[in-house]
């Protein structure tokens, strides 16, 4: 254990595993140099502990000192008292043990199960320590950012990450979109999963804008061979000079009653109106939507409605809702192509699909399309997975579905009915997981939140949002203070399945020419591999 004495911070004086450890600062270490969220190592007798500073406070040895403060204008007195009669304390949350035990040496850092002894020395974590915990970049691990005040790279194990559903949270303008873009690039580079992105504001496909109004390249520009842009709004895409691979059209006959259930809130439908949809679909079959819209105002219709015991006002309510849908320009009586099939074709080739909504950013379109496509794609995956299990063949490539404004799909009212709720809960059984992006995590069903494997959260300041994100995490109160003190840009707290311990990162740069090069260079080999794969496919 080679630790420089200059890094020494203090000694352990008190603490517990649940509440954290109290460390008294040495007189040589100033409280003002400390920062919440920074890493420390504690040299126990048998093990080394790795932890994070979660609070910093001041103490005096004698309460009289606070009543009659000494003359600190005299530098000598001030220097003598600092660290002896007056001192700083750190509150540290121990997270892992590194080195020491046999398991640690073989299997790497282990979750902490005890606390270091009294007066163990506490040091600032060195670059090597942090690397030992978060690992260097390799075939599985993707560099996402650096810890505060350090140059070490913090890496996420992406194949591990995509095994569960994940969440990215943060207030508006804190860098959720940038973070998502970085993460998507990571998955693409490492070939961890195929992505289907429901891109509400057209930020992931071709280009996006940064806070300062600067245009930044998005996935398709960086990885043209591995990304396909689908659009609902061809005109908008042309205006933005985005080359799209496919224009999505959805036929009325593709909309099933289940797709409408989710729109109940958005379209202001009543419960009987939703019930009526099922009845109408039973009567008219696949073409129920068009047939219903085409019903003439005649006595026959009234008779028929009566026969189905649908009340007149219910029917009017339903019609209003259906007209809203009918006005969506990408809907047509019958679609010339099968969108789901197309998307699956791309995904099967390992090509990521970004579905841009163009001008149709209203929530009705988003919820309808996302739900409709996901339900079918999920069903396909489920079928394939079951087949693969039955025939003992390779399971389908993992799929990650990215949704924005996730609380619209996953709020407690609808999460039990939507496909997204099912995916979030059933997790990885069928190799399909979610990447949930939201600014109001408190709006998402608790049950879904608890199933998210890794949560990446930028600054949140609403108490309920913070509580919801941190629910069930050990050391919740300590992390709360860390979360509330994140800077409003480029900083995020990552915790959960893919990282060995909660970590605050300054996310890596995105948007400068150098950063693009950085993203591209480790991906070069992947691109080659992809090309190779494409060639092989051609000859099949």
């Amino acid at each position: 254990m080679t630790q420089q004495s200059s890094q020494r911070l203090g000694i352990v004086t008190d603490g517990s595993l649940t509440k954290g450890i109290e460390v008294r600062l040495d007189s040589s270490a100033s409280v003002e140099d400390m920062a919440v969220g920074r890493y420390v190592t504690i040299e126990g007798e048998k093990r080394r502990f790795f932890g994070m500073i979660t609070d910093i406070s001041l103490g005096v040895i004698d309460p009289k000192l606070t009543l009659t403060p000494p003359d600190v204008t005299d530098p000598f007195t001030a220097e003598v008292l600092a660290g002896t009669s007056t001192y700083g304390t750190l509150h540290i949350l121990p997270m892992l043990t590194i080195g020491g035990g046999a398991t640690d040496t073989i299997e790497g850092p282990q979750p902490v199960k005890t606390v270091p002894g009294h007066f163990s020395a506490v040091n600032q974590a060195s670059q090597q320590d942090v690397e030992l915990v978060f690992g260097g970049e390799d075939a599985r691990k993707f560099y996402i950012g650096t810890p505060l005040d350090m140059e070490t790279r913090i890496c996420l194990d992406l194949p591990e990450l995509v095994k569960r559903s994940n969440g990215i949270f943060g207030k508006s303008g804190t860098g959720k979109t940038f973070l998502t873009r970085i993460l998507l690039i990571g998955m693409l580079q490492k070939g961890a999963a195929a992505n289907l992105i429901f891109d509400m504001h057209s930020e992931y496909g071709w280009s996006g804008t940064s806070e300062g109004g600067r245009t930044v390249k998005a996935l398709k520009q960086l990885f043209p061979e591995q990304v396909a842009v689908f659009t609902l709004d061809e005109a908008n895409a042309k205006r933005r000079r985005v080359s799209t691979d496919f224009v999505v059209r959805i036929g009325y006959d593709e909309i099933e009653p289940e797709d409408m259930t989710l729109l109940r809130q958005t379209l202001n439908l009543t419960e009987p109106a939703v019930e009526a949809i099922y009845q109408l679909s039973r009567k008219f079959g696949r073409n129920w939507l068009q047939s219903t819209l085409g019903l003439p105002e005649s006595e026959e219709t009234e008779e028929m409605l009566k026969g189905l015991s649908i009340h007149e006002s219910t029917f009017q309510n339903l019609l209003r809702g259906l007209h809203t849908i009918e006005r969506l320009p990408f809907l047509m009586p019958h679609s010339p192509d099968n969108t789901v099939k197309r998307i699956l074709e791309y995904l099967d080739r390992g090509i990521n699909v970004v579905l841009e909504f163009g001008r149709y950013t209203d929530i009705t379109a988003y919820v309808l399309v996302a739900n409709l496509l996901t339900r079918r794609i999920y069903a396909q995956y489920r079928e394939r997975m079951e087949k693969a299990m039955a025939e003992d063949t390779a399971p389908p490539h993992p799929l990650v579905i990215t949704i924005e404004e996730a609380h619209r799909f996953l709020n407690p009212g609808v999460s039990s009915q939507t496909i997204f709720g099912t995916i979030a809960r059933e997790m990885r059984k069928y190799n399909v997981t979610l990447l949930v992006i939201d600014q109001r995590p408190s709006g998402i069903d608790d049950e879904v939140m608890s199933q998210l494997g890794t949560k990446i959260t930028c600054l949140l300041d609403n108490e309920r949002d913070i509580d919801s994100v941190l629910s069930g995490v050990p050391g919740k109160n300590e992390l709360k203070s860390v979360l509330a003190r994140l800077e409003s840009r480029q900083q995020a707290l990552i915790f959960g399945h893919a990282v060995p311990m909660p970590v605050v990162v300054r996310t890596r740069e995105y948007g400068s020419p150098e950063s693009y090069k950085d993203f591209l260079s480790p991906g070069q080999t992947d691109t080659k591999k992809q090309t190779q794969k494409d060639i092989e496919e051609l000859w099949k």
């Binding site: 040895i61 000192l65 000494p70 000598f76 007195t77 003598v80 008292l81 660290g83 002896t84 009669s85």
Partner: protein, 200 residues
């Protein structure tokens, strides 16, 4: 002629302190200086003390000096006209035992035996002071001793004396001050009193 640094002889000794008479009148080591005396055992036992008091008095306890300078012009004239004075008066100093050296190893606590009467007393060299000042554990003995001078005065004087041999005096004082702040954790006023007296 006495050897270099030799200042007197032990005339009273106990486990915790010793009294020495100076060879020259008025030539006692300054308050707070580090002195030593040697017990010539098979392995010589060097004993260290801190000077805490000095007294000049008549040789005979019952005979008090009388004022003589009424017709003299200066103080020196008195001694010149009555040279016997130098033989009739004597200067003694007391030192508090703070450590010892045995088998070449320095210990900053009481020696196993007291010094002998007529043991020579030496003023410690700069090197010895530096060596002794490497640890401040002896300060505890000074703070807890019951002496005619206040412990605060003695500690401050000792530190001022020791600091003279260091190049970086203020560094030495800060380190000592920190040690005192720990020792006097609950006694803020005593700490303040000492700090006020050792401010560089």
């Amino acid at each position: 002629m006495a050897e270099l640094g030799r200042v007197g002889e032990v005339i009273e000794a106990s486990t915790t302190e010793f009294v020495a008479q100076c060879y020259e009148l008025y030539q006692s080591p300054p308050l707070g200086s580090l002195v030593k005396t040697i017990l010539p055992l098979e392995e010589p036992l060097e004993m260290y003390g801190i000077v805490y008091n000095a007294v000049t008095s008549s040789l005979e306890p019952g005979r008090r000096p009388i004022a003589r300078g009424k017709d003299e012009t200066s103080e020196e004239e008195i001694y010149r006209s009555s040279p016997q004075l130098l033989k009739l008066l004597r200067t003694e100093f007391s030192a508090l035992m703070v450590g010892h050296r045995q088998n070449g190893k320095l210990y900053r606590y009481l020696p196993p035996k007291p010094p002998r009467i007529h043991g020579f007393v030496y003023l410690c060299s700069d090197d010895e002071v530096v060596e002794f000042g490497q640890s401040f554990s002896f300060l505890n003995i000074l703070l807890n001793a019951h002496l005619p001078v206040s412990a605060e005065e003695l500690v401050a004087a000792t530190l001022r004396q020791m600091s003279q041999v260091y190049d970086d005096r203020s560094r030495f004082m800060v380190t000592a001050g920190k040690e005192l702040a720990i020792l006097l954790g609950g006694e803020l006023n005593r700490l303040k009193a000492i700090l006020g007296r050792i401010k560089p």
